[in-house]
Amino acid sequence: MNRPQRALQHGLATCLCCHQLVELPAGGRCQCPRCGARVHGRIDGSLMLTWALTITGALLLLPANILPVMTVIYLASGEPSTIISGVMQLYHAGLWGIALIVFVASIAVPVMKLVGLALLLVQIQFRLPLIPRQAMKLYRVVSGIGRWSLLDLFMISILVALVDMGAIAQVAAGPGSTAFATVVVVTMLAARSFDPRLIWDVYDQRQSVNTENDKKGVAGNG
């Protein structure tokens, strides 16, 4: 059976910006002749950078969820609410649809992103057996959903301007929102710095090891 041919084995690389196929020089990196972007076989230090950003995101998730993100003061009373208590308030007010949207965008998505990235990184770092199609699906979900977590922050910025009537009603942002904004940005950057071609590198390597073992086995039996 023919093994699928991959660009790096042929000394070729694709420009991630304009998808032009480029012949790599000895150093392994060059400028794309068409769009001028830097081209390298794999993103430089992809694993390390993604690890660093994922861990940063996971650590920042703690202050983002513990500190209050927003305070709604109505008729001089009101207390700061965190992300989770904000969702609970919406749920108790009977707005369970909105509660679900906010829950998905600001709790489920960041956690899922970090867990997904960690799974991919562990699989590649330790060269575990992986199913590339599943891993690719995970990668695409992780890199696609990240932006929706900014929903809560946009809502805060709208409310801060909208509800500004002194003692009667006022909305103020809280320190947790800064941490949460950083979580979103850091995880988006982490998804960008992850190079999905590494998944296939690990897979191909395992495949070739397996076929060699099979050949040895056949030779031994014969």
Partner: protein
């Protein structure tokens, strides 16, 4: 697969940017998508009349940006007190409250990045007709690729909806004309993203370069 033919060099046209598989097909037929046979990544989406549509849509977006940024989006009132929300005043009040990083992020994702995308696309589509703009247009395409995922008008729209429903039991919430412009701009932004195909720009430049080379060759031989 025929044996004995493997030695002849294959003319690879493209490598999948997500799994590095070498492919001989280069472009999708008009109106269709080219998918990677191994990892199912979208390699090329050939939108019909890409440059023309994108040029028109990006100008529409720029025109719509003016009322969206200057008119109020929402009006909120309790008793006789009222406040308005525009695209920028939420950012300003966050900035005044000391949330510099958060306000910068909101400003970037909801105003600067969408505006930058429209400007870059308008420049790319109108500028790719002139040879002396080849280099800046190439750079603009590169910038656009970096900026693409940071324009979050659709997320902001969902934020507006959540704010609308969340505050509706506290006071009176009214929709202002700016919101209609905002919705139109969001739709145009999404359509622009769909219709833009960088490959069409590269092809246009490549054809022009070829024509010029041929003209130069004809001039020398005569």
């Amino acid at each position: 697969m025929q044996h004995g033919r493997d030695k002849t060099p294959t003319h690879w046209q493209r490598a999948c940017h997500e799994c590095d598989l070498l492919l001989t097909g280069r472009l999708a037929p008009p109106g269709q998508k080219l998918l990677c046979p191994r990892c199912n990544a979208t390699l090329h989406r050939n939108a019909k009349n890409s440059i023309r549509y994108t040029a028109a849509l990006s100008l529409t977006g720029l025109v719509l940006f003016i009322p969206t940024a200057s008119l109020p989006l929402l009006h909120f009132s309790i008793f006789a007190f009222g406040a308005e929300n525009t695209l920028v005043n939420g950012v300003l009040s966050l900035f005044d409250a000391g949330y510099i990083w958060l306000s910068t992020l909101v400003l970037f994702c909801s105003v600067l990045a969408p505006l930058g995308k429209f400007l870059l696309l308008a420049f790319i589509c109108w500028g790719s007709g002139w040879a002396f703009l080849d280099r800046p247009v190439g750079a603009a395409v590169r910038w656009y690729q970096h900026l693409k995922e940071w324009g979050m008008l659709d997320v902001y729209m969902l934020g507006i909806l959540v704010a609308l429903i969340k505050m509706s039991d506290l006071g009176k919430m009214e929709v202002e004309p700016g919101l209609y412009c905002f919705v139109a701009m969001m739709l145009v932004a999404n359509l622009t993203t769909l219709s833009f195909d960088p490959q069409a720009v590269w092809d246009r430049m490549g054809r022009r370069r070829e024509r010029r080379l041929r003209a130069a060759g004809a001039g020398e031989s005569s």
